[in-house]
């Protein structure tokens, strides 16, 4: 069953376009990544799902039922972390969690476990929120979104402000929640993060869905780049590598886009003198370029 189904949804803010003709679905029990640069429409889409914004066109289904202005039945089953999590500054973390828990009928059954996993100390719990660091505030937001063990967890840029250790702990918790059957929808502008934890990904740019792919397909289709640094004396001419395209040259540094078999490239590289070699992670622009080229062709 589709837990989230978005059908041709558009949102306009007067003449400004938020998202246009958005369609995708998220299946029960999957971790769905919503990937896009800042301002692409990720937060608008999430706010539409949470009924904080209402669509100008199109329909949204949650748990198989269409949502409208009067319905809030499904929110009991949702945990939500906004992109900018701003809890009541004058409350302590514990007061905040207890206060927000009163709005839900599900008890905060995962709270203790999450506090422990995120190293959220007793001192943090009793500290006023205005005195918390950004990282601790973000941890509090994640705990708030998940503590009642919701069926659907919607997280807008959840790892912003978390240190690498806490990010790992967070990914681990997501995997465990997925194993227990929860559906997770998370937005990010970080491709490696989405590749690491998601099953499928929707890529959004300028308010439009570029593609919805499984992570396996995305990995297959994503472009690889190679940055080659040659010794200065050998750098007058760029080496010709099979199955690559030279896209940039700066002094003795050459950047190639690999679109063929990586093994033949490596064999060729073994023949020449090299000062340094790098295979950087592709960024979002590389991914967009791939899909735009594909769409245009």
């Amino acid at each position: 069953m589709s837990i989230i189904k978005v059908e041709a949804v558009s949102k306009y803010y007067g003449p400004v376009v938020g998202v246009t003709d958005l369609s995708f679905s998220v299946e029960e029990g999957e971790i769905f990544g919503f990937l896009g640069p800042n301002g692409a429409g990720k937060t608008t889409t999430i706010r539409l799902l949470m009924q904080l914004l209402y669509p100008s066109q199109g329909r949204i289904f949650l748990f198989g039922k269409p949502i409208d202005r009067k319905d809030n039945f499904h929110r009991e089953k949702i945990g939500y972390l906004p992109g900018e999590f701003t809890p009541y500054r004058n409350m302590s973390s514990l007061q905040f969690l207890n206060y927000m828990a009163k709005y839900r009928s599900n008890p905060p059954q995962l709270r203790e476990q999450l506090l422990k996993r995120f190293d959220y100390t007793e001192q943090n719990l009793h500290q006023k929120i205005k005195n918390l660091s950004h990282g601790n505030r973000q941890k509090l937001g994640i705990i708030y979104a998940m503590e009642h063990s919701p069926e659907l967890i919607i997280l807008d840029e959840p790892t912003l402000g978390l240190d690498p250790l806490m990010q790992e702990a967070f990914y681990e918790i997501l995997r465990e929640l997925h194993e227990s059957g929860k559906t997770i929808f998370l937005s990010s502008h970080n491709l490696p993060e989405v590749e690491k934890i998601c099953h499928r990904v929707g890529i959004i740019r300028e308010g439009n869905i570029v593609t919805v792919e499984t992570i396996e397909n995305l990995k297959k289709k994503r472009p690889r780049r190679l940055i080659l640094t040659l010794p200065v004396q050998n750098s007058s001419k760029p080496p010709i590598l099979p199955g690559t395209q030279l896209i940039e040259q700066a002094g003795n540094k050459f950047t190639y886009l690999i679109d063929g078999d990586i093994r033949s490239v490596l064999q060729e590289l073994a023949q020449i003198s090299i000062e340094d070699i790098l295979f950087p992670e592709p960024d979002l622009e590389d991914i967009f370029l791939t899909y735009y080229q594909k769409n245009n062709s």
Partner: protein, 269 residues
């Protein structure tokens, strides 16, 4: 329909200010009546005014002289600028801070993403505002009552009249609260809403004042909401409380309807 935990939290947020207003305005009522009772101010002011030119006496009016009597001072206590100012702040602060203000700082997003109806939050906030207004007015009632006890004014000062003046004052403040709600439902900046609501209130206040002292524009009086609150006349039994309450009540009702509609349908950016 209401959320008790939301009501308690919202009241708690402003409790220090509400307690301060309760004590201060209560003390003011006691002080005013103490001054009038212990200094025979009424006779002194009446004698003094009789020395003034006829035109000036007319300008000051009978209401001015009357406020130096026990009854007049009690009524004036409920129309004192300090009382009006504190109550306007109470009337404006709840909708401006908890609707537009919370949209601005992002906390309303958290509340509205919960499994509740937006109406229940709007209605609870309205209840909080009304409770806060009555709480502060009850400070005034207590102050007057204390004075009555201290100076044994039971016969001179009918407490039922004081209660009715307080109810009329509360109706006026609930009306101010309602248009602040309406402005807030269209806005996303709490401070801007508070300024706009204060500006409208000030406009109504001066309109009523000018229309009272300048007969040429006297026909404008009914436009001002302050026309429907006349404590001195209520004390003397010359005003129609029922009419005042109906006008202010209807105004509140018709301001709250679009507010609820707008909050239910608006985007939370």
């Amino acid at each position: 329909m209401t959320r008790s935990y939301y009501i308690i939290k919202s009241l708690r947020d402003h409790l220090p200010f509400l307690i301060l207003a309760f004590i201060l305005l209560g003390a003011l009522q006691t002080l005013l009546l103490t001054i009038v009772t212990t200094t025979q101010l009424f006779n002194f002011v009446r004698d003094f005014i009789q020395q003034l030119p006829q035109e000036l006496q007319q300008f000051l009016g009978e209401e001015f002289i009357a406020q130096f009597s026990v009854k007049g001072a009690a009524a004036f206590g409920y129309n004192h600028p300090l009382v009006i100012t504190f109550l306007i702040i109470v009337a404006i602060i709840f909708p401006s801070k908890h609707v537009a203000g919370e949209i601005e700082n992002g906390t309303l997003e958290l509340i509205f993403s919960m499994p509740i109806e937006r109406f229940s939050i709007t209605f609870s906030l309205w209840i909080v505002s009304v409770l806060a207004i009555f709480f502060v007015i009850s400070g005034c009632w207590l102050g007057t009552f204390m004075s009555k006890l201290i100076f044994s004014q039971a016969e001179i000062l009918p407490f039922s009249k004081i209660l009715l003046i307080g109810i009329n004052l509360a109706a006026l403040m609930v009306c101010i609260n309602a248009y602040t709600f309406l402005i807030s439902s269209y806005s996303r900046e709490g401070s801007k809403v508070a300024l706009q609501a204060a500006g409208i209130t000030l406009f109504f206040y001066f309109l009523n004042y000018i229309a009272t002292i300048w007969s040429v524009v006297g026909f404008l009086k009914p436009i001002s909401i302050f026309h429907y609150y006349q404590p001195q006349k209520l004390m003397m039994g010359e005003a129609n409380l029922g009419k005042n309450l109906i006008v202010l009540g209807l105004l509140t009702f018709f301001l709250m309807l679009p507010t609820i509609y707008k909050i239910n349908r608006r985007d939370i950016p």
